[in-house]
């Protein structure tokens, strides 16, 4: 039987990629963020996952507004990273796990959560940065991906309750998978930040703490807020915490926190890194 070894959650600010590229990890600005990662590296080295089910949002690389899926599941053998408009160095392609992707899709549709299915999908910084942070300087990515996209760009967004239900359905799929894979679930993005409007620069450590304090023990508490309330509390892009909520659902019913790092600001964002194990 496949084993869900735990959950890894982190922010995906594009500037993190720039810091890695320049080797700025130990500079005073970046150190408090990167200090959250030795524990992640130790944990991954011990747990040795070989599949990552990643909940994230596209930022206008794979999807444009001509077709904007609320939920999208990648079912490709390989996922490429491409230029997002800034001409930054590209990340190596990621191997997929199409058999497991289709198993997840079957479960979602059986549970009446009907996603877009993608046999081709580009992955942007929302996936490449968290994977690079987890596995710096490896010759080959040790995990195959099942990427699951959530629309956090164009309202109406799916509710937090719906995202948790999505994740719980994915958990059923993973728990019934007959392979011997060791699976890590990943939620990327957030926490509070707002890039646009006169309120640009908004962050909210109180709401972030509320999310972090309830993520393991009571994720349903995070679903009490409407999307509008979440925008008010977390900022227009802080709603990316929906990816965390879905990933928490995919981890399974019980969870305990084994690691947390919270630091702001990273670029315009309150950044957090968390590890959870099933409990």
């Amino acid at each position: 039987m496949a084993e869900i070894i735990g959950g890894y959650f982190t922010s995906h600010v594009p500037a993190i990629g720039g810091a890695i590229h320049r080797g700025d990890q130990q500079t005073p600005y970046w150190k408090p963020f990167f200090d959250g990662f030795p524990k992640v590296h130790e944990w991954l080295a011990k747990m040795k996952p070989d599949v990552a089910v990643v909940f994230s949002n596209d930022h206008g690389l794979n999807f444009f507004l001509d077709k904007m899926p609320t939920f999208a599941v990648g079912a490709a053998a390989e996922y490429q990273n491409e230029d997002e408009g800034w001409g930054l160095p590209l990340y190596r392609p990621f191997k997929g796990h199409p058999e497991l992707s289709w198993h997840v899709i079957e479960q979602l549709v059986a549970d009446e959560i009907d996603p877009l299915t993608c046999q081709q999908m580009l992955v942007d910084h929302a996936i490449s940065i968290p994977i690079e942070l987890a596995y710096p300087s490896v010759a080959e990515w040790p995990v195959r991906l099942v990427p699951i996209g959530i629309n956090t760009v164009q309202h109406p967004l799916p509710s937090a309750r719906r995202c948790l239900a999505l994740g719980r359905s994915v958990h059923k799929a993973l728990a019934s998978w007959s392979g011997a894979e060791r699976i890590v679930v990943i939620g990327t993005g957030g926490l509070s930040h707002q890039l646009d409007g006169e309120r640009a620069g908004f962050m909210n450590p109180d709401y972030d703490r509320f999310c972090l304090d309830h993520l393991a023990s009571d994720p349903d508490a995070l679903t009490k807020h409407s999307i509008h309330d979440m925008v008010r509390l977390a900022g227009t892009q802080g709603v990316e915490v929906l990816n965390w909520i879905a990933a928490r659902g995919a981890l399974g019913p019980g969870a305990r926190e084994i690691h947390r790092n919270y630091h702001l600001p990273i670029s315009n964002t309150a950044a957090a890194t968390v590890l959870l194990e099933p409990a």
Binding site: A15, H59, G60, L61, F64, L65, M68, E82, D83, E84, G85, W86, G87, V153, Q154, H155, P156, S159, Q194, L195, D196, G197, E198, R199, A200, G201, F202, M203, P205, A221, K224, H225, S226, H228, D229, V231, R232, T236, Q237, Y262, L264, P265, S267, N268, A270
Partner: protein
């Protein structure tokens, strides 16, 4: 804990915040389509070589064209621009999200960066 509003109910607006909803997505389609094209280097170069012609190719509305010409980010948002796509346009000019934040909030870039740092107090 607030309860979610009924569908169709209009929640209280959030100051300084525009939700990118269906109305904005319709209104901003051409501008966002142009910005999406900037994922390709040759399109970024074509924009820089002849901005007027490039904007014409994407049928920007007069309001969108004026906001782009004036590098007016709030104007672009009012014309339906979405920040994830506008960030690709900003990148052409070498502007990052602190620069864009400063432009929208009427602060200098240094003051905007300080504003971000000030959030760290009390955490």
């Amino acid at each position: 804990m607030p309860t979610p509003p009924e569908p169709g109910a209009r929640p209280e607006p959030i100051p300084g915040t525009t939700l990118f909803d269906g109305d904005a997505a319709r209104k901003g389609y051409q501008l966002n389509a142009m910005c999406y094209s900037f994922n390709h280097k040759e399109n970024r170069e074509a924009f820089l070589a002849d901005e007027e012609a490039y904007c014409r190719r994407f049928h920007l509305t007069p309001e969108q064209r004026q906001a782009v010409a004036k590098r007016d980010v709030l104007g672009m948002i009012a014309a339906g621009g979405n920040i994830y796509y506008l960030a690709k346009l900003a990148g052409i000019f070498g502007l990052n999200v602190q620069d864009v934040g400063a432009m929208q909030t009427g602060r200098t870039v240094e003051a905007f960066k300080q504003y971000l740092l000030d959030h760290a107090r009390g955490t």
